[in-house]
Amino acid sequence: MVGIRITDLTHEFDDRLVFDSLNIAFDGSCLAITGRNGSGKSTLLRILAGLLTPTSGDAAVMIDGFAVPRDLLHNFIGLAAPDVRLYSELSARENLQFLLKTRALKSTSEHVEQVLCEVGLGKRGDDPISELSSGLRQRAALAVALVHEPRVLLLDEPSSNLDEAGIEMVREVIGKYSAAGMVIIATNDPAEAALAETRFDVGGA
């Protein structure tokens, strides 16, 4: 059982208030976080992923009724976001292998190949990230979020830069991970938001 509990969450950047006493409790399979530009969608995902410490309040990922401690979040969360870049000197395959090892996970080469194929990078998996187009980099970023098979998948504008086939791939990934855990999508795209069973408007909170 996977869920998120956001309680009285307040966050400020310098003097700019992003959230004020935000509360969300969600135990379903797919949540879309919507809101105008600058409303704090990406910030909320970064807080849930443990990349940002909120000014006050609490944001917790719940697994089987227990809040996951911050130092274990990296095993349970996968985040694909525009501001999470891959190592451009390495190939997508090397990035994935590196990220598995830093999580103290041992995987087979078939697993890495399977993840690369899942996002449509099977033939370009050995090219340096710096030589990939923006769409292929977006696919590689998604592979990085999936490689450790997280229980909670956080996607920030996942279809940006993608072609029709890429958008269909994202839909399949969202469907698969919704069934096995939880997917949270931060988006302004109505088609992406429609994939979620529940929608939360940050700007309207």
């Binding site: 970064r46 992923a49 443990g50 990349l51 940002l52 410490t53 697994i63 911050r70 130092d71 274990l72 990296h74 095993n75 349970f76 969360i77 985040l79 976001a81 501001d83 999470v84 870049r85 891959l86 190592y87 451009s88 000197e89 390495l90 090397e94 590196f98 990220l99 598995l100 090892k101 830093t102 999580r103 103290a104 996970l105 041992k106 995987s107 087979t108 078939e110 697993h111 399977q114 340096p128 990085v144 999936l146 450790h148 098979e149 997280p150 229980r151 998948l153 698969k176 991970y177 096995a180 855990g181």
Partner: protein
Amino acid sequence: MSVVHRASASREQITSRSGLIGYISAVIAVLVKDSRCELRSKQSISAVLLFAVTSTVAVSFTLGAQGQSSAIASTLLWVVIYFSAMAGLSRSFVHEVETYTAPLLKLAAKPNSVYLGKLAFNFLTLIALDIVTVPLFIILMGCGISKPGLFIALLLLGSLALSAGATMAAAMVSRASSKGALFAAISFPLLVPALGLAISGTNIAMGGDAVLTAANCLHLLAYYCGVVITASLMLFRFVWED
């Protein structure tokens, strides 16, 4: 964390390494990743080696022919190593921030794995620097090494001490705006004790006299490394995480 927590169908293809093995695996992964990126971009090592060779040659042109005392030669050697290290060791963290890969590393690795992996990378960079610079320095300056074993031990311990302090300082300045100046300003007071000990010990290894004995220099350098690395492991989380 066990395999049953994984989300998709390929559960048999991905398993956890437990305890110390997993920790060491993560540290080695950071070291290998940094080495691989460095070998492909050559940003840090080029800056370090270029500075080291240039400064060694410049110093030797002015002072080499005059037959300097062991005290001056040991001081000049460590000045060259120190400033060369300052030219490149901050890159390990600054590069992560400048290329926006720091969030990826934060998402995947425990903070202490990152510190130890970066420390190992910086130590290997300094060893590469020593291998190029020290023979060049000895030849151009005409230095004699009367105690080679002590000299090598001091180079290794001194390089570890510089790496330990510089790695922590690099993490601290990586999010600041004027990184270069701040890195030197923070590193200098942190590294002065190690530099003093390395210079004294090297002076003895070159046949000179010093207030401390060679054993004292080695022991104090080892203690310095232990204290700085332990303190860094305790504090790094607060520097690295938001």
